[in-house]
Symmetry: C2
Subunit: 254 residues, 2 copies
């Protein structure tokens, strides 16, 4: 049995909380927030307190707050003996090195407020400074997820950067596609099956091999027409830069 | 019952052929290719011939060849009385205006050689010059798909451009993410659930509202660190341009 104090009341903290409650092996002793109002949801199911109050003694303290707030929270956890972890993709494990026992517990997924999450297929990247702490994190992670990876701070920083491309920038490509449709009164829903299949394809094919399109086949006439169709400078620049980069990758001379 | 002559032996022609065979209402009289070798698969199930041979009389002639080859093929179909359609996203309906009856039959999906396709959820965009031809295309499209849209040549050109963003450029974002992982010995599979969820999210949320990440929240320190981490000039430029464009869209001063 692992006892947990959860610090944070946002999106990720809420998803963790709902998930931990499902497992008898995990016991959320306390949820810690900045304001009483944000603790309401949690207080119906466990004890809550403010960050300035005295925290309970627990096996693991999970800091699920914004990156910027991690230093402030960790400074309040200097004297606890339990294992203190943060849940950030981009913050070093050393941000917690004023604590006695520390580590990282990073779930790699995009979370939507209010949408229920099944953690079983979600990768959890764990990191710790010694074997005992690693064992504790492994146990905690494997209790809720089928995909647990031991990932160093350096690897995690690259993973986080890769996630910006495959999640944030990909979503921006969807936004541009949506705007083009709206501008010309074409229902964006026509593109939904294509979007779904594009993401499904890479489960069986490496993305480099799955690449298609005018840039991939060096179809200069189509690219020129597309550039003329695009209305804003931003969209033109993005189309041009990405097309040229694809052309170079596949060995076409510009 | 609609009788069909299918011209082309590539990816899309093969997927159409396999699908048409499943419906009693559709009768593929003939498949037409450029070389005998490419006709082998089709000749086991229907009649085949070369483009230089005499084509059968059919209700619909479907040109499923590369965009560049459409003029050559259509010039051979000048004298047929059936409805001649091409299957391209980016070629005007007028490319076929030397034919007596002509139109467009464009399935909007990315097809993988050898991977079976269910056309029912795939949007088919149809266009024709008169009501009778439109009715024929509606019937044909609705026989194989649940999502049939009447789309003009102009709308289709914008749809095709939007598809470049949501499919080709998105796949390139996956490629870059994959390279970053490979460079740092992180398994790319860790990102697969994130990729899947990113594409699933837009079914319930407009992409503009689903945008997250350092650029969206104007997190300058993280963006700076990411730029330093990126090794190639191409990746740096892409990261910078997309981040700046996102920052501008969400009203942050640069």
């Amino acid at each position: 049995m692992i006892s947990i104090v959860l610090i944070g009341t946002g999106n990720i903290a809420t998803h963790f909380f709902d998930t931990f409650l499902q497992y008898d092996m995990l016991n959320v002793l306390q949820v810690v927030g900045r304001r009483n109002e944000s603790l309401h949801y949690f207080s119906q199911k466990t004890e809550t307190c403010l960050l300035s109050d005295t925290l309970k003694k627990a096996d693991v303290y999970i800091i699920a707050v914004s990156d910027d707030a991690i230093p402030e929270v960790s400074s309040k956890l200097k004297h606890v003996t339990g294992l203190v972890v943060h849940t950030s993709g981009s913050v070093s494990i050393n941000a917690l090195n004023t604590c006695k026992n520390y580590g990282v517990f990073y779930p790699l997924q995009t979370f939507t407020k209010g949408k229920k999450v099944d953690f079983r297929p979600i990768p959890i990247c764990i990191e710790a400074e010694n074997e005992d702490n690693l064992k504790t994190l492994s146990f905690l992670a494997e209790t809720i997820s089928d995909k647990v990876y031991q990932i160093s701070t350096e690897q995690r920083s690259h993973l986080h950067l890769a996630a910006v491309f495959v999640n944030n920038f990909t979503n921006y490509m969807y936004t541009i596609g949506n705007e083009i449709c709206d501008d010309h009164k074409v229902p964006f829903e026509i593109l939904e099956p294509l979007i779904k299949e594009t993401s499904a394809k890479i489960l069986t094919l490496k993305p480099k091999e799955a690449q298609t399109g005018p840039a991939r086949r060096n179809d200069v006439a189509t690219m020129q027409r597309h550039l003329e169709q695009l209305k804003t400078k931003d969209k033109k620049q993005i189309y041009k830069l990405l097309s040229e980069s694809i052309q170079k990758k596949y060995g076409k001379k510009l």
